[in-house]
């Protein structure tokens, strides 16, 4: 484990650095279950079934995976600012490796590559290899964005074989028992061209996420942003109204994350209307008329 030597001194920048496969979710992340997703994920994990998370942006997919990593790992004690992550007795480690996929992400980015160093070339495991070896939950965010050749890797990992062929070194790695592949996918803004292939899709169970119902969302916003319940409720209603526009010019509705941002700004004393404007309206669209319309909704809900 690589770790920055941190002396908690004042004015000293403080950060923690982990090797990618050693990152454990130590403290319980806040996650408010809406349906039976917790049970489903746990069952899939036990049964080594890969999981596909579907849902619009900012509705809590990543948070969910984080939460599950914590829950499945379940460290015995949780200590804040605990610099070392030593194994405690009876602790199960489920590291979480998250990779945000982008269009230039190639298979070798995931598996690993030869690097040059002072004495010659050296093989470096990519994050996927490390996750497979370490028995982590590997979370590929927005998987359709990645290049097509990544499917070559996903397929053998996701069926009964659970192997990762490393072409360049000529090895095959059998995944650790705790390893699970989890991918996310946002059906809304994917063009047909970038859709997931069925041969890929059908290796996963799919859990659908959507924005939570108003009351639940209000609870989440309140909890996450720390703003008043009343504001949180208004924000979640605003979210609901804006999502009504999804088919009428808005590509995506206001995400729970944005609502939380607005709530946080409000908590810091920014006036509600202004907070919504910068956190929600201007973020969602550049189109004048649409902005104006959403602003009118904001003005109706907030004084």
């Amino acid at each position: 484990m690589v770790e920055a030597n941190i002396e908690l001194m004042e004015d000293e920048p403080s950060f923690k650095e982990f090797a990618i496969e050693e990152f454990l979710v130590r403290s319980e992340p806040y996650y408010r279950a809406v349906g039976d997703e917790l049970e489903l994920f746990e069952a899939a994990y036990e049964q080594h079934i890969p999981v596909l998370l579907k849902g619009p942006t900012g509705c809590g997919k990543t948070r969910f995976v984080e939460y599950m990593a914590w829950k499945l790992g379940r460290p015995i004690t949780t200590v804040r600012n605990q610099a070392s992550q030593e194994m405690r007795e009876g602790e199960v480690r489920v590291p979480l490796v998250t990779i945000a996929c982008h269009e230039d992400l190639t298979a070798s980015d995931l598996v690993g590559r030869y690097l040059l160093d002072a004495n010659g070339t050296r093989w470096i495991d990519g994050p996927m290899t490390r996750a497979v070896k370490a028995g982590a939950i590997l979370y590929l965010d927005e998987v359709v964005e990645a290049r097509k050749d990544t499917t070559v890797l996903i397929h053998p990992l996701t069926d009964h074989r659970r192997i990762l062929p490393v072409e360049k070194t000529g090895n095959i790695i059998e995944a650790d028992d705790r390893f699970l592949l989890c991918i996310s996918y946002n059906p809304h803004y994917q063009s047909a061209l970038k859709d997931l292939k069925h041969s890929t899709r059908q290796r996963f169970i799919s859990i659908e996420f959507d924005y939570p119902p108003v009351d639940v969302e209000a609870e989440i916003v309140a909890k996450e942003s720390g703003c008043s319940d009343e504001d949180a409720h208004a924000l979640s209603r605003l979210g609901e109204k804006i999502r009504n526009l999804r088919e009428h010019g808005l590509a995506e509705g206001a995400s729970t994350r944005l609502l939380i941002y607005a709530g946080r700004l409000m908590r810091q004393g920014i006036p509600a209307r202004r907070a919504c404007q910068v956190a929600i309206v201007w973020t969602l669209t550049d189109e004048q008329e649409l902005q104006r319309s959403i602003e009118e909704v904001v003005y109706s809900i907030f004084e």
């Binding site: 230039d104 061209l193 209307r273 189109e287 109706s300 004084e303």
Partner: protein, 1104 residues
């Protein structure tokens, strides 16, 4: 020429200065080529004649000989002699003139038809008045003639010359200056020249000095004016000049400035207004035009009409103040502008309102003007009152309640919010059997008791019938349908049927429901609280005084007041204090978020029971005392029942004692709450539902519907007396149409609603022939597709001459090379490996070795040792749609080249042939049409596309009517490029109309079958979409534009990127609607099309 003759001639020439002989000898030989001997003799003699006219005319003779060979090349001998003789006459008057004449001749004769030459000479002559100055002017005229004749039709030259002559009477200097100015300015004027000249002619009589200023001003000023309107504008100037307007140049300048600020399509309208003024008070025209710009900065064009109208009225009363009005130097004018500029048109905020209402309700709501609702004639009659029919929100077309735009907008918003709240909080979802939340349910018991009572009445009636006459009618006032069973279609209708006075019940229901909604709005939308309070405050100020109303109405008015959030200091009749408090309690109970529409029903039931038991009599004013009803206590069912019993007892007591009191009248409507018609909405929804699940239940017949409408309390409210019966049938029919029920076919007596458009007749079409396709069309008014509405006929374009294609490439060879280079640049980008990257697909051996070597040398190596292929492979399919409508035949910039007689042959025989050919249209045009540029661009594009290997198709479209949308294949998308296609391009010609939507849909189908990563549809047009019947109710433009927009949206949905390119300079206004947030471009300079099109395409398909 014989020697003797030559000898004689030389002898005569020798009498003149030797220069003449020299000139003769210099050309004599050359002339022999053109003329026979005989003719030569005549030619030479004429020179002598010229030379001998006056003392100094030998100079003319020299010039005559000098230019002869050149002139002879263009003129046949007869014409030549005619020309020479003209010179002779001129020489007689003034040798200077003749010299100028001869000097100009060589160029003139190539451009002017021979028969005009004497007239031309005459023009010059007419300027000569025997003075030195006039001869200079005339000579100057000949000097500029070549340019004039080359660039203007001859009659314009004549008019211009007469203008100069007229000016010369005033001042030779000015005339000379204008002559030169005219030479420079007139050719650029195009078809407006005639109007300009005649305006200038008018000026010479009144203020001749203006002519020069106008000439100077014209080119700059006129470029602001729309092409078609320039002539009118100038004629306006002419008429003003004739009426004695002094500074016409100023008018020209101001007017053009003003017009330039008006969007192109509307300039004609402004000129209409000017002409209107001209007819009455010409003096008002210049100030009007001058004020136009500042005025239009403040108000819109439709508002301008109102302002103008006011001004005209003032003019009629008092011209002085009218003119001051147009100068905006009067208070009336200023105030009017103030009001107009603060008013708010629905059109301007419609988009925002639509999205706003959609966001709030979560339903696909349309926002429309109330005018539209009234036009549909389905029971709404009030133009100014907002309403909703469940799927659309209707708002008044214009608001000018406040002197401030933002306040007017806030009003709109409050009104819209109130209407949407009907949907959001379920006003129309009333179900008779669903329990209320905050009240006990009494409806059902009440219905049962009424039915029992009716049963009793009926039994009694039947018994009576048996005993008495057969003619006694059975209580229709109970809402009984035929056959004795009540057929109640809607839940609201069923509820209202419980009451004897349905109107009062419905009034109570409306007031209480509005109260519930306003309360909900205030709790759910705190942000709107303040504007809502303002609006409520204004509404309160307009309420009638409670104490002046009879008792029942007073109590209802009290409820209205409370529903408007006014609880303090209400005037309550002391004798009925208990009742008022009970009503207040009922109302307060509704003010909770738990209350539902069923609670409103229960509340109105209770309120009705109380109020209907009172007599509608005026109470003495001193009876009324102010009370605060903000906390009247909790409502309790027991107290309510006790009160009811008491009232019932009183009523029984009073029976027969007194008169009935005043007839009940509904309260004044609260403006911002609009029209609330739950029954109609439920009816429409239900009809639509019945319609969609046909066969399930027996659909309602028109008779039943009419009966139902007659019973409806809502209609009673609006329709005027006597009107009801007549309009009922129409209403019923319109409603059924609205709901999609086909009107009864065998019912000629009744007459249908207004026939909308002949093209609406007929219905769906079917494609029977091969290569024809049927498409839906979008009707933006119905907000729905008209199914199978258009037939697209696909035809392969005829083949023409291959030369057009080749010529185009040749003519644009330099541009072509440029385009090709640009396009070729796209290719390598997609395939080339990129080296020396920090990260990539694999290690680049070269760089790696270098790095390795560096390492060995203990030098830090370059870490950029990877290569990567470029990320996107080019995979593009594109369809080009060319507008082949008739309007593309329009010539571009005709003024640039005059097309008249310049290439007419001189020989009469040839001329006749030329004329005939010209009539037949076979002569090659010297001007270009829009379509020519489209074709040329097309050729260039094909060439470029072939070089990069994109899949492409090129199609033209036109057509007439919905059953004939022609879709011409120039190159089918799957076709390989070949000579046939080159030939087809030649045959691209202007045809008929433009029904863009269907053409786009067909192009979509073409593209859909393509398997390409990027699909693009490129639409090139010259203007709005239009076609016969591509219109409805005179909103032709709107309909076509919306359909096209919808087609483009469909393309977008199918992953096709549409792009519109138009060469219509006025394109911005409708393209915004047509393309929405899709891409478009308006090409300002049509000549740039061949260059712009490939470039646009390139940037559009560049790696994203």
């Amino acid at each position: 020429m014989t020697n003797t003759a030559t000898g004689e001639l030389l002898a005569e020439l020798s009498k003149l200065p030797p220069a003449v002989t020299e000139a003769y000898e210099a050309v004599a030989e050359a002339m022999g080529d053109s003329f026979s001997d005989e003719e030569l003799a005549l030619w030479a003699r004429e020179g002598v004649a010229i030379g001998t006219q006056t003392v100094r005319s030998w100079e003319s003779a020299v010039e005559y000989y000098r230019v002869s060979p050149e002139v002879a090349r263009s003129l046949a001998f007869a014409s030549f002699m005619q020309w020479a003789r003209c010179g002779t006459y001129l020489s007689q008057d003034s040798p200077t003139l003749a010299v100028a004449f001869f000097k100009a001749s060589p160029t003139i004769v190539t451009n002017l038809r021979p028969q005009y030459i004497p007239r031309w000479a005459g023009l010059g002559r007419s300027l000569y008045k025997g003075t030195w100055k006039s001869s200079t002017l005339a000579a100057r005229f000949f000097e500029v003639s070549p340019d004039l004749v080359r660039n203007l039709p001859f009659w314009d030259v004549e008019v211009f010359a007469s203008l100069i002559e007229a000016l010369s009477y005033k001042s030779y200097d000015v005339a000379a200056e204008c002559l030169v100015l005219g030479r420079d300015v007139l050719p650029g004027m195009g078809r407006e020249r005639e109007a300009f000249l005649s305006m200038s002619r008018a000026l010479t009589d009144t203020s001749w000095r203006e002519v020069k200023a106008c000439l100077e001003m014209a080119p700059r000023a006129l470029q602001h004016v729309e092409e078609g309107q320039t002539g009118r504008f100038l004629r306006l100037g002419e008429r003003l000049a004739k009426m004695g307007l002094r500074d016409t140049s100023r008018f020209l300048y101001d007017g053009a400035q003003a017009l330039s600020h008006v969007s192109a399509g509307s300039q004609g309208h402004i000129l209409d207004l000017c002409e209107g003024l001209l007819a009455t008070t010409p003096d008002a025209v210049p100030p009007f035009l001058k004020s136009l710009d500042p005025v239009l900065n403040r108000i819109t064009l439709p508002q301008l009409d109102q302002w103008y109208q006011q001004g005209v009225e003032l003019l009629n009363e008092n011209p002085e103040s009218g003119i001051a009005f147009f100068k905006i130097e009067s208070n009336t004018s200023e105030a009017m502008l103030e009001t107009l500029s603060s008013s708010l048109d629905l059109e301007r905020v419609k988009g925002i309102m639509r999205l706003y209402t959609r966001a709030l309700s979560g339903a696909n709501i349309e926002v429309m003007s109330t005018e539209e609702l009234v036009r549909r004639q389905i029971g709404w009659v009030d133009q100014d009152t907002a309403s909703t029919d469940g799927t659309k929100v209707y708002l008044p077309p214009m608001i000018d309640n406040y002197n401030d735009k933002s306040q007017n907008f806030a009003w709109f918003k409050v009104v819209a919010t109130h209407q949407v709240s009907h949907l959001e909080f379920g006003s129309f979802e009333f179900e008779f059997d669903r329990p209320a939340n905050v009240f006990d349910d009494r409806r059902i018991a009440m219905e049962e008791s009424i039915q029992a009572r009716m049963e009793a009445i009926r039994t009694a009636a039947v018994e009576n019938l048996l005993v008495q006459d057969m003619n006694v009618s059975v209580g229709p006032e109970m809402g009984e349908g035929p056959g004795g069973t009540m057929r109640v279609y809607t839940d609201i209708g069923r509820f209202l049927a419980l009451f004897e006075d349905r109107r009062m019940a419905f009034d109570l229901f409306s007031v209480l429901e509005d109260c519930r909604l306003d309360y909900r709005i205030k709790t759910d939308y705190p942000g709107i609280r303040r504007p809502a309070l303002d609006v409520q405050g204004d509404a309160l100020a307009q309420r009638p005084r409670v104490e002046e109303l009879p008792l029942q109405e007073a109590l209802i008015e009290l409820l209205v007041h409370m529903s408007l959030d006014r609880f303090e200091g209400l005037l309550v009749p002391q004798e009925y204090r208990e009742e008022a408090y009970m009503l207040a309690r009922i109302m307060h109970r509704l003010r909770t978020i738990r209350a539902s529409i069923e609670d409103t029903a229960e509340a109105s039931l209770r309120a009705y029971e109380i109020i209907s038991r009172l007599q509608n009599q005026q109470q003495p004013e001193d009876e009324y005392q102010p009370e605060d009803l903000d906390d009247p206590g909790e409502f309790s069912e027991e107290e309510y029942e006790a009160l009811l019993d008491k009232l019932q007892a009183q009523m029984d007591e009073q029976q027969g004692e007194q008169g009935e009191g005043d007839p009940y009248e509904s309260p004044e409507p609260v403006e911002y709450r609009g029209d609330f018609k739950p029954e109609m909405v439920q009816l429409l929804t239900k009809l639509q539902m019945d319609q969609s699940q046909m066969g399930d239940a027996e659909p309602m017949t028109q008779e039943e519907l009419e009966q139902l409408l007659q019973d409806s309390a809502e209609l009673e409210l609006d329709a005027q007396e006597g009107d009801v019966d007549q309009s009922m049938a129409m209403f019923a029919q319109n409603i059924m149409k609205e709901a999609g029920v086909p009107p009864p076919s065998n019912d000629p007596g009744r007459g249908y609603g207004p026939i909308l458009h002949d093209d609406d007749a007929g219905g769906e079409l079917e494609a029977l022939e091969p290569k024809t396709y049927v498409y839906d069309e979008w009707d933006f008014r119905a907000n729905d597709y008209k199914p199978r509405w258009c037939i697209v006929k696909e035809k392969i374009l005829d083949e023409g001459d291959v030369n057009f294609y080749n010529d185009s490439l040749r003519n644009y060879s330099s541009l072509l090379a440029h385009i090709k280079r640009q396009f070729e640049l796209i290719m390598p980008e997609t395939w080339r490996k990129t080296y020396r990257l920090i990260d990539g697909e694999d290690i680049d051996l070269n760089s790696a070795l270098e790095a390795w070597a560096d390492l060995r040398m203990n030098v830090p190596p370059d870490e950029k040792i990877y290569w990567r292929r470029n990320r996107v492979e080019r995979d593009v399919a594109v369809v080009f749609l060319l507008d082949m409508s008739a309007s593309t035949a329009e010539a571009i910039d005709e003024g640039r080249h005059s097309v008249d007689d310049r290439d007419a042959p001189d020989d009469p025989v040839e001329y006749m042939v030329w004329l005939r050919r010209r009539r037949e249209g076979l002569v090659r045009r010297h001007y270009k049409r829009i379509i020519d540029l489209e074709r040329e661009s097309c050729a260039l594009l094909i060439n470029a596309l072939e070089s990069i290997g994109d899949t492409y198709g090129i199609y033209g479209f036109s057509g007439y009517g919905r059953e004939n949308v022609e879709f011409y294949v120039i190159k089918d998308i799957e076709e390989q490029f070949n000579d046939k296609i080159k030939r087809r391009i030649d045959k691209v010609t202007p045809l008929h109309a433009t029904r863009m939507g269907s053409a786009i849909r067909h192009a979509i189908t073409k593209l859909e079958n393509q398997d390409a990563a990027t699909k693009i549809m490129f639409l090139i047009s010259d203007g709005r979409p239009q076609d016969r019947g591509y219109s409805r109710e005179g909103v032709e433009k709107e309909y076509a534009v919306h359909d096209t927009h919808q087609a483009l949206v469909e393309a977008k949905r199918k992953e096709i990127t549409p792009f519109c390119l138009t060469v219509d300079k006025a394109g911005h206004d409708y393209l915004k609607t047509m393309c929405g947030d899709l891409n478009y471009e308006v090409l300002d300079d049509i000549w740039a099309l061949p260059e712009r099109l490939p470039m646009l395409y390139r940037s559009l398909t560049m790696v994203r």
